[in-house]
Symmetry: C2
Subunit: 120 residues, 2 copies
DNA sequence: GCGGTAGTGAGATCGATTCTCAAATAATGG
DNA sequence: CCATTATTTGAGAATCGATCTCACTACCGC
């Protein structure tokens, strides 16, 4: 499972992880998936991603710190990843000013994806 | 209920809204609270806030556009609101570059609040 | 093999949200 | 006013992701 997650470029739900493992032969129960994810999260190897539909997703944390954020289409649900250096810079600067330690941050953008923007 | 929400400076869960309305005499069922919130959200009067504990919160959208974001203490759960102009600027600039319309954005910071940072 | 320990997952449980529907309330028209 | 129709409410059922339980399995050292 570790490897399956590591191979992902973007986030997956626990359900999806369990299904994919099943498809590829190595079936793993949902309970075990959640257990593993919790552990990986504590070890800072996996980050939780909450996009506001009722499903928590998980994605690997890159050792180098590179990461992206997500734009969600409120019409079709499609999730688009994006990176933005100046956004990250703003967040880094904010860290100093804030009376709050920062172990993670998450930026979620809502709107319509390219495809859904076209058709009225 | 509109007025109760409007009076809030920060987000409340549906549960909290129902409770507070009950305390102040005008009891309103949970179903009705959710109904009203959905409507207010469609009218762009209320914004959903998802902080990653299983509770969706809601807060009024200021007509002027002023708004804040949230830092969550992963130890005690306390929610701290913060504003940051340069973060907003970065998000505004991003809007142009992104192949995705933006109707809302949400920034959530995880870490430890001031109090929890002090005690080891 | 055998007892002990850690890991697994099917199914029970929980809790937030959504759905249903009968009752309450409001609006309409004579 | 009163009867009729339309709208709103909210208690409780249903849903569904996440978590918990616990019998069962796998593994380990002897
Ligand atoms: Mn970032
Ligand atoms: Mn903002
Ligand atoms: Zn779309
Ligand atoms: Zn705290």
């Amino acid at each position: 499972m570790i490897d399956l997650l590591a191979r992902q470029s973007c986030c997956l739900s626990a359900q999806e992880i369990s299904e994919r493992l099943g498809e590829s032969g190595r079936s793993v129960g949902l309970a075990s998936v959640y257990r593993a994810l919790e552990l990986l999260h504590e070890l800072a190897l996996v980050q939780r991603v909450d996009l506001g539909d009722g499903n928590t997703r998980y994605e690997p944390i890159q050792p180098g710190g590179e990461h992206h954020h997500h734009a969600v289409c409120d019409r079709c649900g499609r999730v688009t990843a994006f990176e933005d250096r100046s956004l990250e810079t703003a967040l880094e600067r904010l860290a100093g000013r804030l009376h709050h330690s920062i172990s993670a941050h998450e930026v979620v953008i809502h709107g319509n994806c390219e495809r859904c923007s076209e058709r009225a």
